[in-house]
């Protein structure tokens, strides 16, 4: 939708714009529509209230107030237009130049604007009016000159920001001249703000004209302007108060309407989808959402009927010996408005076992971050759990009250975010932020809490913890900030640590240190870790078991070494092969064609089928279940179900919740066998 279209869909702004247009049009057409000559006196009608003859009454000399308003508007509005023109002609280009060129030009213009801001407007206007003998044109030009600073500053700041955009750099690298870059790449970003400023300034120009006219500095007496009409009405205020109403109401209405138009334009300008960098929440949480809302809305009527995962599928042969801390069943998460939401995670089931590192690996849009955050009810705005259960050591997380959830988070379950720097509050020291968290878990004296904070910083191996306590976040490096993030997560002595891409923002050498630290802490504190990552190296370094996700589903589960050595799902295999670290030099990388199916457009069958080299008709026919392929391993692929490990298993009767799903894939598997 165009910007104009979005503006027109705001009823209040549309009404306000209509009012402004109607009033301006009426004033312009005064010659045609005004019932009387604005100067014609009719003493018989003097001080009349509204009547059929004089709709808005007549003034003390019997002149028709409606006619005077229509003609007077011409003076007031044209004065305002003049002031606005000067304001725009000065403010827009100078702001663009200052913001784009910076340096000396910017400094000089900035100083000039500061001086103008410091000038008392009304006094200068009175001086100008006395020099030019009450010439309204001179006054309005002066007003524009004195006011342009506000537009200048807004334009300069926006230009400065836009000039830093990568696409502006790219345009300059393409050899575009300065004016071309300004016109094509920077100006289009500014229109909204310019219109807002112009609307506000037009309103203030109308008020200024009225003020000057009231003081007798506008038009020569018999001629009307809105301000002079107020001045005349105020002379008879005590005997005929009504005469003040029509001009006062019109001025108020126009000023208010201009303000509302400005508001409407600002709302349109700030809600403009792609303007500026992509929203970070959308990027981290529901990556493909914004690009696919269109397809989601027009897409398939209902969500494909995916089968719930069969939890016995990936059980170890010796499963009874393993203690499970976290059990997730059929977790389904949706984003967007209720009723029209888009499923981004579909029926995920898995466990985190005592003391293990479970790595969730996948690409953006796979649902790995959503999975991790849903566990502790930390989904980004717009996300909600639609189905499934989360059992943490016997407690149902989804049934917990907000207070219980708060105790769980940061208590038994710690969370390490991707970019700790952005989660630390820049105005508080590390000490006070750490103390805030420590206080939740350890009641004690100040000294005891400080000792605990120091202990935590030592735990994450920060050098000189005492000095770190007194620092502000901006005084930390990225690696130090991530260590502080870890310390915050460890304050509640968690048994399960959820680490969401904990090293993605770090350099490799720092990443290595943080991974080493995580590994050591896990061993020392006996924690389990749920590690979300897109990097197979990080997964290989830490994870005991790997959970591979693709397009909102778990596609493979198994011990990391086994999954890497003999990946069962074609997606896992292709992903490992596409890694430049394992590629053969001089040969093209084995890449996966196409791209991830966005949420909302998931097919009925296998989500990976359209990119899969091994897909067969049965893959598209219906949902594919996560099938057992060996001890502790499962894969969501019709082909991998035919591995020898399964042949033995198929002889066993599989009952319980798995029953229907097995039946569901029955024909599909038959087809698979048939197509051999």
């Amino acid at each position: 939708m165009t910007a104009l279209g979005r503006f027109l869909r705001q009823p209040l702004a549309l009404a306000a714009a209509t009012v402004v247009v109607l009033i301006v049009a009426a004033c312009l057409l005064a010659d045609l529509i005004a019932p009387y000559d604005p100067l014609k006196q009719d003493l018989m009608a003097a001080n009349q209230l509204p009547s059929a003859a004089h709709w808005l009454g007549a003034d003390s000399l019997g002149r028709d107030i409606l006619s005077r308003l229509l003609y007077g508007g011409r003076v007031t509005l044209s004065g305002s237009v003049l002031a606005v023109s000067v304001f725009t002609v000065l403010g827009l280009p100078l702001g663009l130049i200052a913001g784009y060129r910076r340096g000396a030009v910017d400094r000089v213009l900035g100083r000039v604007v500061e001086v103008i801001f410091a000038t008392p407007v009304i006094i200068i206007l009175l001086v100008v009016l006395s020099v030019f003998s009450a010439n309204l044109t001179a006054a309005m030009i002066t007003l524009g000159v004195l006011g342009f600073g506000s537009l200048f500053r807004v334009v300069r700041a926006s230009t400065l920001a836009a000039a830093g955009e990568l696409y502006v750099k790219a345009a300059r690298a393409a050899g575009l001249s300065g004016p071309a870059v300004l016109r094509r790449h920077i100006l289009p970003n500014l229109w909204g703000q310019v219109i807002v400023q112009v609307a506000l300034f037009a309103a203030s120009a109308i008020l200024t004209e009225s003020g000057l006219a009231f003081l007798g500095f506008s038009v020569k007496p018999p001629n009307p302007s809105w301000g002079s009409m107020i001045g005349e009405a105020s002379n008879v205020l005590s005997s005929h108060p009504f005469q003040l109403l029509p001009p006062g109401f019109v001025i108020g209405l126009v000023v208010l309407a201009l303000g509302l138009v400005g508001d409407g334009v600002r709302d349109v300008a700030t809600s403009r989808g792609g303007s500026g960098p992509a929203p970070s929440v959308a990027q981290t949480a529901a990556p493909a959402l914004q690009s696919t809302t269109a397809s989601a809305q027009s897409g398939i009527g209902g969500q494909p009927l995916d089968l719930p995962d069969d939890p016995t599928a990936w059980a170890d042969d010796a499963a009874e010996e393993v203690e499970v801390w976290l059990t997730v069943r059929d977790l389904t998460v949706e984003f967007g408005p209720a009723g029209r939401g888009v499923t981004v995670l579909k029926g995920a089931s898995f466990e985190v076992r005592a003391g293990e590192v479970l790595g969730i690996v996948g690409e953006s849009g796979s649902g790995k971050t959503v999975t991790a955050r849903a566990l502790i009810d930390l989904l980004p705005p717009g996300g909600r759990i639609m189905d499934g259960s989360i059992d943490y050591r016997g407690d149902q997380v989804r049934d917990m009250s907000p207070a219980q959830l708060n105790r769980l988070r940061g208590g038994q379950i710690g969370y390490v975010p991707q970019e700790p720097m952005t989660t630390l509050d820049p105005v508080f020291t590390i000490g006070s932020q750490l103390d805030e968290v420590v206080r939740r878990h350890d009641r004690g004296s100040r000294a005891a809490r400080r000792a605990r904070a120091l202990e935590l910083l030592e735990l994450v191996q920060l050098r000189d913890p005492a000095s770190v306590l007194s620092r502000y976040p901006h005084e930390l490096s990225g690696g130090m900030a991530q260590r502080v993030g870890l310390a915050l997560a460890l304050a509640g002595r968690p048994q399960l640590l959820i680490a969401d891409e904990p090293t993605t923002a770090l350099d490799v050498t720092v990443q290595q240190q943080v991974l080493d630290l995580l590994d050591e802490l896990r061993a020392r504190l006996g924690m389990a870790v749920l590690l979300v990552t897109h990097d197979w190296g990080v997964l290989a370094d830490l994870a005991d078991r790997a959970l591979v996700m693709y397009a909102g589903q778990i596609v493979e589960v198994g011990p990391t070494t086994a999954v890497y050595a003999a990946a069962a799902h074609p997606y896992t295999r292709a992903l490992i092969a596409a890694n430049p670290a394992t590629a053969q030099a001089g040969r093209p990388l084995p890449s996966i064609p196409g791209q991830v199916v966005p949420p909302g457009s998931w097919p009925v069958g296998c989500h990976f089928a359209d990119r899969c080299a091994e897909a067969m008709p049965a893959c598209l026919a219906g949902p594919v279940a996560l099938g057992r392929i060996g001890s502790g391993r499962a894969s969501r692929c019709l082909r991998s179900e035919r591995t020898p490990a399964l042949v033995g298993l198929e002889a066993e009767p599989v009952e319980g919740p798995a029953g229907p799903s097995r039946n569901g894939t029955g024909p599909a598997r038959a087809a698979a066998e048939g197509s051999k």
Binding site: A170, A174, S177, P188, P277, Q512, W536, L575, L589, Q595
Partner: protein
């Protein structure tokens, strides 16, 4: 070796400091050479000055001292007009496919403006040229009429590649060109870059923090650390027999995707503190 396409000699880039903070020397006496048809990898951690070097070659960074020769011409001394002409021959591909395309302009408008600014095509031929390059990078012709928001990161990066190569440049500076992409998409884009290099005969300055990507793409590699060149040489030699401790630590810090090899490496590291 024949005349290098690009020669950087003793480059110093210093960003001026403010009233209370000192200036920053982002590049300190950096010298590199790129031969025609060669891919030079540039690795280093954040703050090592690798992007600054790319910016200096593109004319975006203040050169304090040193020379940059492009085909025998000193481009640091070139006047602004000549500098603008040179932009056709030296093109960038940036990291962030979300920020590098103007959201308010169609893909076609973005692709057209460079060739038009340099008079490579007449306005009448521009659309045909755009369609041709969209096809080369594997995007349908209808892409030209649509806006960046309609495309995924990988598709946008293809557009960014088309924008650079439509200018028929001789040197392309890939500044973390695939770092923001997912692994499966990254492989597609890397293959496209290699393929285009073969077809068109380009040289790349391939800047990345990812050792594996640089190793896969480059003929030679330069290691930067705190603005200085620590080591440079043929890629096999630097990767397999690094002569500098910094290069060694950088290489061994990259975790291997093979869990058994990676665990062996971690164990070895713990034994030798």
């Amino acid at each position: 070796m024949s005349e290098p396409l690009l020669r950087v000699e003793g480059l110093v880039v210093e960003y001026p400091g403010g009233r209370r903070r000192p200036g920053l020397r982002a590049n300190d006496d950096v010298s590199i050479e790129i031969a025609p048809g060669e891919t030079l990898g540039l690795v280093g951690e954040s703050g090592s000055g690798k992007s600054t070097l790319g910016d200096a070659i593109l004319g975006f960074a203040p050169v304090t001292a040193g020379r940059i020769w492009f085909k025998g011409e000193d481009i640091v001394q070139a006047d602004p007009k000549r500098r603008r002409q040179l932009t056709r021959l030296i093109q960038p591909i940036f990291q962030n496919p979300f920020g590098s395309l103007n959201p308010a302009r169609t893909i076609g408008a973005t692709l057209r403006e460079g060739p038009l600014a340099h008079g490579l095509v007449s306005p009448g031929e521009a659309d045909q040229k755009v369609a041709q390059w969209l096809d080369i990078v594997g995007l349908p012709p209808a892409t030209a009429r649509r806006y960046p928001r309609d495309f995924s990161g990988g598709q946008r990066q293809r557009v960014a590649i088309a924008r650079a190569l439509i200018m028929e440049p001789e040197l392309v500076i890939c500044d973390e060109a695939v770092s923001a992409l997912d692994l499966s998409i990254q492989a597609q884009v890397l293959n496209l870059l290699s393929d285009l290099k073969r077809r068109v005969g380009l040289s790349y300055l391939f800047i990345s923090h990812d050792m594996a990507v640089v190793e896969h793409m480059s003929d030679r590699v330069v290691v930067l650390h705190q603005g200085r060149v620590v080591e440079q040489g043929p890629v096999d030699e630097v990767v397999n027999h690094p002569s500098q401790p910094y290069t060694r630590s950088l290489l061994s810090a990259v975790p291997l995707p093979d869990p058994i090899a990676q665990r062996a490496r971690r164990a070895a590291r713990k034994e030798t503190p």
